[in-house]
Symmetry: C2
Subunit: 339 residues, 2 copies
């Protein structure tokens, strides 16, 4: 087994940094677009065979060091009883959750009953992979999921969720707590089904300053990571993490996944030896040219040093990325030798 | 004259922090909305009497310590020969600038000829204010203006401008240099007309990591600040500045205006005694409740300490902000006494 990624999570030595890409099963691949023509995004998430197929595409086409199962962070939210539409412009929730009664009406789903397809996709992937590379499970973190629920979709300034949190903190804490319970059992279900690593996406927590992060996001991340315990390594991703990195270190994660705005060197300096790091090429760099991809990726690998680093992007790969550039990125990790 | 703001820029002692708000002349004020009913945003920018009137509204209604003249950062871009529409969803540029020939066709406008109304508004404001409080001039910084020009409007990931910068750096540098010349003479024109402080908005430069910031944004900010010299104090604003604050310190600005994601204490620690700081309440806090406005604003005032701080928001005031909350924010600055 290519267990480089698992070894990095455990802070064991590796011959080179493992590499994968957030949203690596996605629209930049013609093979993915071909399958997506046949069914909607949500239908694809729930189709065991095709979801497994698109999950494997980046492994087969680019030879990445890990597979992440194809899904969306709002799948468990839908299972809580909230109708969700996934459009090309992002998720839409027609009836935002902004009152105690709306929160009370949310179910904490039993994943084996409500989202059995997630277990089936993961099991199928483990069978197909035959331990060739590790399989990553994932979920959205409570603050990020709550943002979608309260805003009713994506947001520019997160005014609805923030002002609700400031006006009625107990109400928002009740929502976050319910989401933490849901996500905790959802990730445990993924682990029971075969996920060997999990990544928690707190994509929008970087919009909070550090004291708000510690009030509204970090406690729920901790609760989820405590529920998982040491079953599998835990990765925490936040987009725009520069101001809160020091708090993220105490989340319980073995790995912090950082965006491109902070340099790998500074993130290393600030997080010390306590956690491994994942990241952090700006996805826009993958639009080309190759010389810049090489220079910027090698800069990251050099700053990260020989251990405790998973090479990745700082955010999801862009749909307009040329496949050959994604392949180039993967190859750089394989050819790089630490000075 | 209430010269607290000017004294802070010069690092002189003050009895309390001066306070104003980015976008303080804006939609949250009923008096502003009443005037805006009569004419479009761009028409308002070009109407000397009404632009002066809305500029003065926050001073008269909230008693802020500085007036900023009402305008938009794309006014000089329009004067370069680029048709601009300002919609409620943000600026739109129908023909984005992405080629050498498009850049070559941009004029470096003579502000006294192309945007005389800007001078007229500033002159009128100085007359009306009779030195009661300082008048702030402003412009967009080259990277931020180039983002709008290349993207054709606002952007989520800035993929167009970044990939152009990576593929054809010389082309983007040519555009940035032309914008720097335009903005430099535009700000000098504002100063000649009576602006007593200037603020450069590099709103989107926080999307760059530090090495890209130093390659594509900082040199042009420096060029503009060098052109202005010590005529008036210079304020530099970047939204999402946590990763690049150390570079911003060497921009030549007397004051760095920071967003809410970084704590005032950390910004102070990192910028040391070299610059004054402006900011940095999360605009969402002004949505209420008052107890939180008080606690969070006093936290900023306490962390900033007795000198070298202009109280402001971390980004523009939101249109849905209750006026009484904006007034509350201003009052807190006036009543606060350093421990």
């Amino acid at each position: 087994m290519n267990d480089r990624l698992l070894r990095v999570c455990r802070r064991q030595p590796v011959d080179r940094a493992p590499v994968w890409m957030m949203r690596q099963a996605g629209r930049y691949l013609p093979e993915y677009r071909e399958i997506r023509q046949k069914l909607s995004f949500l239908e694809l998430c729930k189709n065991t065979d095709l979801a497994a197929e698109v999950s494997l595409q980046p492994y087969r086409i680019l030879d990445v060091d890990a597979v992440i199962f194809f899904s969306d962070i709002l799948i468990p939210v839908e299972a809580m009883g909230v109708p969700v539409s996934l459009t090309d412009k992002g998720p839409e929730i027609a009836n935002p959750i902004r009152t105690q009664s709306a929160i009370d009406s949310l179910r904490i789903p039993d994943p084996s009953v409500e989202v059995p397809f997630v277990g089936a996709i993961i099991k199928k992937l483990r069978q197909e992979l035959r331990n060739a590379v590790p399989l990553i499970g994932f979920a959205g973190a409570p603050w990020t999921l709550a943002s979608y629920l309260v805003e009713g979709g994506g947001s520019k300034n997160f005014a609805e969720i923030k002002s609700l949190a400031y006006r009625e903190p107990r109400l928002v804490h009740a929502l976050l707590d319910k989401l933490a319970s849901t996500v905790g059992s959802y990730l445990l279900f993924q682990i029971e089904s075969g996920a060997q690593v999990i990544q928690l996406f707190d994509t929008w927590a970087g919009e909070l300053n550090r004291s708000d992060y510690e009030e509204f996001a970090l406690p729920y991340t901790r609760k989820i990571f405590e529920a998982i315990g040491s079953r599998v390594p835990r990765i925490l991703y936040v987009n725009g993490c520069a101001s809160i990195l020091d708090s993220m270190v105490s989340s319980g994660a073995e790995v912090l996944s950082i965006d491109w705005r902070i340099s790998m060197a500074e993130a290393r300096r600030r997080s010390g030896e306590r956690v491994a790091l994942q990241g952090n090429l700006d996805p826009c760099v993958l639009l080309g040219p190759k010389e810049r991809i090489l220079a910027k990726t090698e800069e990251i690998l050099e700053q990260a040093g020989p251990t405790g680093h998973i090479l990745n992007l700082g955010h999801g790969i862009l749909p307009q990325t040329p496949v050959e550039n994604a392949r180039c990125f993967v190859e750089i990790a394989k050819n790089y030798r630490q000075a």
